[in-house]
Point group: C2
């Protein structure tokens, strides 16, 4: 396989990276929305049962090649990013 | 906002999680393919310049709400997963 073909594969990876970026940010907006709703209900934001439920659904649907443990690890980082964003929103709300 | 609306938001998050899962695995397959190509060329798999280039492109395209630093952190985990997969493939190839 030539370097041109390697470049093509890399371009495809770049495209998927940007798709992932879009969806991760779209997801973050939903999580912000959920945070705002919970805030009005006075509910604590972090919900380990919900997190476990999300991870189970993800792993049930994992056809690889990535292992369940790897997928779980990546998603935990994505969940953490969402929670941090909610925390930022909460701090800002307190400053108003 | 009612709990029904909260459930709707959560369903949307679940849908995005599964979309992310699909793309992360699709990306992993491409990275495996790239690993095989590099293997035949005798090139070392980890390429920090390429990784930096991918991150720069991602950050240039980041419109938030997630911060660049958070996005970088998540993608580094995704990159790591790809590299580990290539390493597994390499070990298996050595066993043949």
């Amino acid at each position: 396989m030539s370097n041109q073909e390697l470049d093509q594969l890399r371009n495809q990876v770049d495209e998927l990276n940007l798709k992932l970026l879009d969806i991760i940010n779209e997801r973050a907006k939903l999580v912000q929305e959920i945070g705002r709703v919970k805030e009005t209900q006075g509910v604590y934001r972090y919900d380990p049962v919900r997190e476990r439920g999300m991870l189970n659904l993800i792993k049930e649907n994992n056809d690889g090649p990535l292992k369940d443990s790897t997928v779980e690890h990546i998603f935990k980082e994505i969940f953490k990013a969402g929670l941090e964003l909610q925390k930022d929103d909460h701090s800002k709300a307190l400053l108003v």
